[in-house]
């Protein structure tokens, strides 16, 4: 067990290392990073000062070392636009993102779980086909377009919901639905296949043989076990939602980390862009590690895999 955890921990560290190298590499190779790191319209003296400060006149390995040293101290630089520490800025935006992701997750599960179960119980029936069409639409309709359509319908025509901003519970509904839309399709598909697998298993047959009502077989015996992979995916997706909400947050002017990333691009605020991508990647690597370890704790067979 300890060997397994150490091994996975090693993988995670390698991943983080490669992530930082990737970011570092692209910034250095695709142009003069000093130009990205100074404010637009800065003078030559400012450029030289930045080169000095970040050691851009040194060799690449030395540069990478100082890049990592800064990151390790939690120093992601200063935002040009907000004039504050980037890490602080990021953390101040995180709660809004988490709220949005949580509500989006509730939407996606409320839609995805029942449709997935019905599709599995009535496999190849009318409901199953409807579910397939829904899943296909979920994958094909860009979430930000869903958001725009909702603004048009609920804000412009009906006037029920505020079109942008934050503050009340009503504000979170539309962006959360737009964000949860895509994931609802993913959760529906996994619930369906997971239910199908469980419904074909021996203990479900036994439950039926001993004369349990079908509703109990499905609700109690099958659903509970089919839920495990779905909840695992949901856990990973919650973190993913925080990091892919850029476009939805932009549409609804939602003040989360995605909006921060967008502002970073719009204001040419490069330290913000770099920090958001790095922290997002680190978050996902960490969650994958946690899920792997938890799986190994639950299922001993995984520990002995290669």
């Amino acid at each position: 067990m300890r060997r397994f955890i150490l091994r996975r921990l090693g993988f995670a560290v390698v991943s983080l290392f490669l992530l930082s190298v990737t970011i570092f590499f692209f910034v250095r190779v695709t142009g003069d990073p000093a130009v990205l790191l100074v404010e637009p319209g800065a003078s030559q003296a400012d450029l030289d000062a930045i080169r000095q400060q970040f050691g851009l006149d040194q060799s690449l390995p030395v540069q990478y070392g100082s890049f990592i040293a800064h990151l390790a101290r939690g120093d992601f630089g200063q935002s040009f636009y907000y004039r504050t520490d980037v890490l602080e800025l990021y953390l101040s935006r995180l709660p809004a993102s988490l709220l949005l992701a949580t509500v989006a997750m509730v939407f996606s599960l409320v839609i995805g779980l029942p449709t997935g179960i019905v599709a599995a119980v009535r496999v190849n029936g009318w409901w199953d086909s409807a579910g397939k069409i829904f899943a296909l639409l979920g994958l094909s309709m860009p979430s930000f377009w869903v958001g725009l359509l909702m603004i048009l319908f609920f804000s412009v025509y009906l006037g029920w919901l505020p079109s942008s901003g934050s503050g009340t519970l009503l504000h979170v509904l539309m962006p959360a639905f737009a964000l949860g839309w895509y994931f609802a399709a993913a959760h529906m598909r996994l619930t369906r296949s997971s239910m199908l697998e469980v419904l074909g298993s021996e203990y479900v047959k036994l439950a039926r043989l001993k004369g349990l009502p079908e509703a109990l077989v499905i609700g109690k015996h099958a659903f509970k076990n089919a839920l495990i992979p779905v909840l695992t995916l949901a856990g990973i997706n919650l973190v993913l939602m925080v990091n892919v909400a850029v476009v939805v947050e932009t549409v609804f002017a939602w003040p989360g980390v995605g909006r921060l990333l967008y502002e970073g691009i719009a204001f040419r605020d490069f330290p913000v862009v770099q920090a958001t991508v790095l922290l997002g990647g680190a978050m996902i690597v960490t969650v994958n590690l946690i899920v792997d370890v938890l799986y190994a704790v639950i299922d001993p067979r995984i520990r002995y895999e290669r």
Binding site: T22, G31, L139, W145, V247, Q274
Partner: protein, 294 residues
């Protein structure tokens, strides 16, 4: 005579099987139509998509009160003809989508074959990079790259290829791992073929099917990503008529109820992505039994 009858039966049977597997006629037609529209965009568009007249701003489509037959699908905030922009937008989506999918496919398939066949540290290196890049959300990664290199159509293709090659590499490598244990590869080794020859002549043809299926399935993803980047202002630069860019412009008239600027470009995106996904799903089942559970 018996033989020919049997052959006729087989032919009929094969035709029936072809039909019953549901050849996606509609999606194919949609993609073909979009391709034709994209190719002949400058012949069929009534107006220049990049130049409008400010006197004709926000005209509604022809069937709505205030609309005219001059602008069948209305005009946008600069008085540009929406239909003309949608048609040229098809060209942008097609060119960017197909080029990106092909470039990513070449890169990913190549690296997947090398990684799977050579094994060892090469394999470790390529797969670690693949894992790390797959961990990054594609859109965030693409935005990051776009923020560095700046907006242009050429850059978008490079960015999309750089982000999406990993999907190919992962799947193709898995196939190569099982292919290289097969007898025909072993015989090729015994016959003295070089590693390069084996990879090119024996492995590559056997993974092409999977690469094509993946490419079709990736087309939809790539088009949505391109639209998202353009919507955020880091994709295709204005005034080029890209669908994502049109949605960004359309948002300016959204609160005033100019629905056609938001609904129509989105419909085009969904139509194309849906068609690509349906075709990809069918190809997956048809060409590549190994990918069915994907």
């Amino acid at each position: 005579m018996n033989g020919s009858r049997a052959a006729g039966l087989t032919l009929a049977w094969r035709f029936a099987a072809f039909r019953s597997e549901g050849f996606p006629l509609l999606p194919t037609l949609i993609l073909l139509t979009l391709a034709l529209v994209a190719i002949f965009a400058n012949v069929i568009t009534p107006y220049n998509p990049e130049i409008g007249s400010l006197g004709d701003r926000f005209h509604p489509p022809v069937w709505q009160a205030g609309g005219s037959a001059e602008h069948l699908l209305g005009t946008d905030h600069l008085g540009r003809d929406v239909l003309s922009r949608l048609i040229f937008g098809a060209r942008v989506s097609m060119v960017v989508g197909f080029t990106a999918v092909i470039v990513a496919g070449l890169l990913g398939t190549g690296l997947g074959i090398v990684s799977g066949y050579l094994g060892g540290w090469v394999d470790q290196l390529i797969m670690r990079i693949t894992d790390t890049w797959l961990a990054l959300p594609a859109l965030t990664f693409a935005i990051f790259l776009a923020a560095i290199v700046g907006p242009s159509e050429m850059n978008i293709v490079i960015i999309l290829a750089a982000v999406y090659w990993t999907r190919y590499a992962r799947v193709i490598r898995g196939e190569v791992l099982s292919l290289k244990e097969r007898d025909f590869v072993r015989l090729a080794i015994v016959a003295g073929c070089s590693k390069r020859t084996i990879m090119r002549r024996h492995i590559l043809p056997n993974v092409l099917n999977s690469a094509i299926v993946l490419a079709t399935l990736m087309l939809g993803v790539v088009i949505v990503t391109e639209a998202s980047l353009s919507f955020l202002g880091v994709g295709v630069p204005p005034p080029k008529p890209a669908w994502g860019l049109m949605l960004a412009d359309g948002k300016k008239g959204l609160m005033a109820g100019y629905w056609w600027l938001t609904v129509l470009p989105g419909c085009c995106i969904v139509l194309m992505v849906l068609a690509a996904n349906l075709l990809g799903d069918w190809l997956r089942v048809k060409l590549d039994p190994q990918l069915r559970q994907l």
